[in-house]
């Protein structure tokens, strides 16, 4: 008499495998794929906007030649911060390690793009900054920076791996935008999607 074994192995192993891989895929995979980093200094926008009464354009402005100033250089910060203006130890650390040494702060860029991409802030000056950038204007600490270990792309302030859309979900990552996001907005606004408009 042949012992009859179950036909396919059973529904339970299937279910276990299914759940296991879901856990691996949704919980373990993002943890492993992204490295979490903090900004080198705890820069507080709140202090500068509320307490010091500065406007965004004081540090982030368009130059005459059309280029964008980007993140201010140590030199331009040193225009005010040659000596500690408050009590925060981070400020003193900035002065000791960067102003006095004449070094640039290696800020982690949330909206980092690879070398072959050309982006013009001047062309997008009519847009609101938070369309593409995390809204840090009112933050006291900069968001954590999530970096994809395989591609070096930034995932902005979140470890989300799916479901990003421009202006759709306010909680989305605002990290390195992929091509389709730029293309869609261009198409919706009647702008050219020629290759050289965005690539170099």
């Amino acid at each position: 008499m042949v012992k009859k074994t179950s036909g396919s192995g059973g529904a339970l192993p299937f279910f276990i495998g299914f759940v296991a891989i879901l856990l691996v895929g949704w919980w373990w995979f993002p943890r492993v794929l992204f490295s979490v980093e903090q900004q080198p200094l705890r820069f507080s926008h709140l202090v500068h906007v509320d307490d010091a009464g500065m406007a965004c354009e004081d540090c982030h402005y368009l130059n005459e030649d059309g280029s964008f100033s980007g993140l201010p250089s140590t030199e331009s910060c040193a225009e005010c911060h040659t000596e500690a203006m408050g009590e925060d130890p981070e400020e003193q650390r900035f002065i000791d390690e960067y102003v006095n040494e004449g070094k640039e702060v290696p800020w982690l860029i949330y909206q980092d793009q690879p070398d072959n991409v050309f982006f013009s802030h001047a062309a997008h000056a009519a847009q609101d900054c938070t369309t593409c950038h995390p809204d840090v204007g009112g933050s006291d600490t900069p968001p954590l920076h999530y970096r994809n270990k395989l591609t070096d792309y930034s995932n902005g302030g979140y470890r989300i791996v799916f479901g990003r859309g421009v202006g759709v979900d306010p909680a989305y990552s605002r990290g390195t935008m992929k091509m389709w996001e730029c293309e869609r907005c261009h198409a919706e606004n009647g702008q050219s999607n020629a290759c050289y408009v965005c690539h170099r």
Binding site: S6, G9, P13, I21, L150, F162
Partner: protein, 678 residues
């Protein structure tokens, strides 16, 4: 667990996998990863800022704008307003920024030990140099190749205090000073080429390697609007259709070194038409011209036909604002004769001290005591001194070399290298490991123009007095210093006070003496002055017969200088390596000469001349006149880096200098060589 359980598990995992991000994100990420290979260098992301600079590498003194990103020079743009560039940038100036990190750069001071050149600290090096200079007791010589900088005043003043000798590298600037001196004048020869309507270039490669080449090219450009009739005629007389001749309106074939003879032949033809000059010493001049420079004789000696010469003279006489610029075809070796003769010719055409002609720009006021005048700094003849040094007939306890490569770029180059070896203690201030630095006992690398304070006053050929100031635009890439500062410091160790603490102070004094605004200069403004000195030339010596050709060979040698291949000071810059063509490396002759010499296209040959030999392959082209073999300058380097080392052979080896007691400047622009298959 059995196989089926496992498979069921795997199937479940497989099904689940499809609704996890893993396969989709990984595929997407892998494709992104392939687009951004990590081993490719990243480009900077910050903005580009521009700062003005005058090129020290390019003898044209071209004004450029250096593009800087985060304080690092990344490129060059043209400077529209600079009078010496008018928006153009030469190949050499374009490569200057890239040379900053060139593999040939000397990265720290080096001292010679048994095992070769070894690192030494700046303070030890200065102490060593001070000790050697102190013990030399006047047996000191310094060579400078910087034709435009005030640094020479510091060097000459130091030599003066040490009772040593100061030499400038031979070149057009030295020839011009000597020629002017012989004719009773003083200052800088200036050519108002923008104002001329007929420009005759006798030998001088004025649009490529001679004088203010970029400015000249701009003047040529303005007078030759594309598709329209030209408003000036440019004529080039020389043995090779070089970069200048190829765009000129007419090329007159004339043997190498014939510039002086052609100029005087034209003077003869003008005299036949009854022309006279506002000058002294006219009788002696007329006598010499009539006796030695008849068109028939010119035809025999230079290859310029008598009827061509007469026609040229007629055109010069008919032109409203003709200008004659003479010189060596390759930037050195013509001595003073070509320029003396050309001044005589310009005088006969009435083109001295007038718009569109030759003007005399005053010397810049000296600011370092004991520096002497520029004319005095140019008076010593370097090549005979080095020859004597090599042969043991002269001595140099300490030999210092700044911004020059005498072991490579002088006639009888191998003998010159011998001289550098024979000096008691040779110091090279070169920024690069050139042939001279490789032989030196002490290498104190100079910071490059981008990294130091320096200045440019009226390069040879400029149309008016021009002064540019260079500030350091980048932090020194390596452990280098500005040589003028080093020598001021060494002087202090010897208790010699030259009157300044740092070279920057010397420059400030210079600016003040000129009446220029230091702050404006620092922002990139250029100081100019239209002030000129009157000259009534004394032409008695202008037509004296020239020394004979050097060498006994059948072919005349025409060295050709092209600045994209480097210059006398710098070997092929890495960025210019792409511009080298096959034919650039070859010696060139036309079909007739090749037949007469029994050589064929591509054949390996050896050229033997009075100074030595070189090997190359032959290229047949009608760009060279019959009886002449053209050899490229700038190849055959044995030092530098992998971009230039070992490429081709050094044509300077073949040349040999002949003394010219009449002018006090030796000549080597007329060399005869023999060619044989190698």
């Amino acid at each position: 667990m059995n196989r089926r359980t496992f498979l069921s598990f795997a199937a479940g995992a497989g099904a689940g996998l499809m609704i996890t991000p893993i396969p989709w994100k990984l595929t997407d990420d892998i494709s992104i990863w392939t687009q951004n290979w990590k081993w490719n260098p990243k480009v900077p992301k910050r903005n580009v800022f521009f700062a003005e600079m005058a090129s020290k590498l390019d003898p044209a003194g071209t004004g450029v704008r250096v593009a800087l990103v985060d304080g690092v020079p990344v490129g060059l743009a043209s400077s529209q307003d600079h009078p010496l560039s008018g928006g153009g940038v030469s190949a050499l100036a374009a490569a200057e920024v890239g040379l900053l990190m060139s593999p040939a750069r000397v990265r720290q001071p080096l001292v010679r030990t048994e095992a070769g050149l070894a690192p030494i600290s700046w303070s030890d090096a200065e102490a060593l140099l001070a000790e050697k200079l102190g013990r030399a007791e006047g047996d000191v010589a310094m060579i400078s190749g910087d034709d435009t900088g005030t640094a020479n005043e510091v060097f000459a003043a130091l030599m003066h205090r040490l009772s040593g000798s100061f030499y400038m590298m031979p070149g057009e600037a030295q020839s011009a000073h000597k020629a002017l001196e012989k004719l009773g004048g003083e200052g800088h020869l200036a050519y108002d080429i923008e104002g001329a309507d007929y420009v005759l270039l006798l030998g001088a490669d004025a649009l490529e390697s001679s004088g203010t080449a970029v400015r000249n090219a701009r003047a040529f450009s303005q007078s030759h609007p594309s598709g329209q009739p030209a408003t000036a005629k440019y004529v080039y007389a020389g043995p090779v259709l070089n970069n200048t001749a190829v765009v000129c309106d007419q090329w007159i074939q004339a043997r190498p070194g014939a510039a002086a003879s052609v100029a005087l032949g034209l003077a003869h033809a003008l005299m036949e038409r009854g022309a006279t000059a506002r000058a002294n010493g006219l009788d002696a001049f007329r006598r010499d011209v009539a006796a030695n420079y008849s068109p028939a004789r010119i035809e025999r000696e230079t290859g310029v036909r008598a009827d061509t010469l007469r026609k040229l003279a007629a055109e010069l006489a008919a032109a409203k604002r003709p200008l004659v610029i003479a010189g060596s075809e390759f930037g050195q070796g013509a001595g003073a004769r070509a320029l003396m003769a050309a001044l005589g010719l310009n005088a006969m055409l009435g083109r001295i001290n007038v718009a569109g002609g030759v003007k005399i720009v005053p010397e810049a006021p000296a600011v370092v005591q004991g520096a002497g005048s520029a004319a005095s700094r140019y008076s010593a003849d370097l090549v005979p001194f080095l020859k004597k040094l090599a042969e043991g007939k002269a001595s140099a306890g300490v030999l210092m070399v700044y911004d020059a490569n005498p072991a490579y770029a002088l006639p009888q180059a191998e003998l010159m290298a011998q001289a550098v070896r024979r000096a008691g203690f040779t110091v090279s201030f070169s920024s690069f490991m050139d042939e001279t630095a490789e032989l030196a006992d002490l290498v104190l690398p100079s910071s490059m123009a981008l990294e130091r304070y320096d200045d440019v006053y009226t390069p040879y050929g400029a149309g008016q007095a021009v002064y540019s100031l260079n500030r350091p635009l980048a932090r020194p890439a390596f452990d280098t210093r500005a040589t003028a500062d080093v020598l001021l410091s060494v002087a202090r160790r010897l208790d010699i006070d030259l009157g300044y603490l740092a070279f920057k102070d010397v420059l400030r004094a210079k600016a003040e003496a000129l009446g220029a605004d230091w702050k404006a200069l620092g922002r990139g403004a250029v100081w100019t002055s239209a002030a000129t000195t009157e000259l009534v030339p004394d032409l008695s010596a202008a037509a004296a017969p020239a020394p004979r050709a050097q060498g006994e060979g059948l072919l005349a040698l025409a060295p050709v200088a092209k600045h994209n291949l480097g210059s006398a000071k710098v070997a092929l810059p890495p960025l210019c390596a792409a511009t080298v063509r096959g034919s650039d490396l070859m010696v060139q002759m036309n079909a007739k000469t090749a037949r007469q010499s029994g050589v064929a296209e591509g054949q390996a040959v050896r050229l033997s001349g009075p100074g030595g030999e070189m090997t190359a392959r032959v290229h047949i082209t009608e760009k060279v006149m019959t009886g002449v073999v053209a050899a490229p300058l700038g190849f055959g380097h044995t030092a530098w880096d992998e971009y230039s080392r070992g490429l081709g052979d050094n044509a300077y080896k073949v040349l040999a200098a002949a003394d010219d007691p009449e002018t006090g400047l030796s000549v080597w622009s007329d060399t005869r060589v023999n060619i044989a298959t190698a």
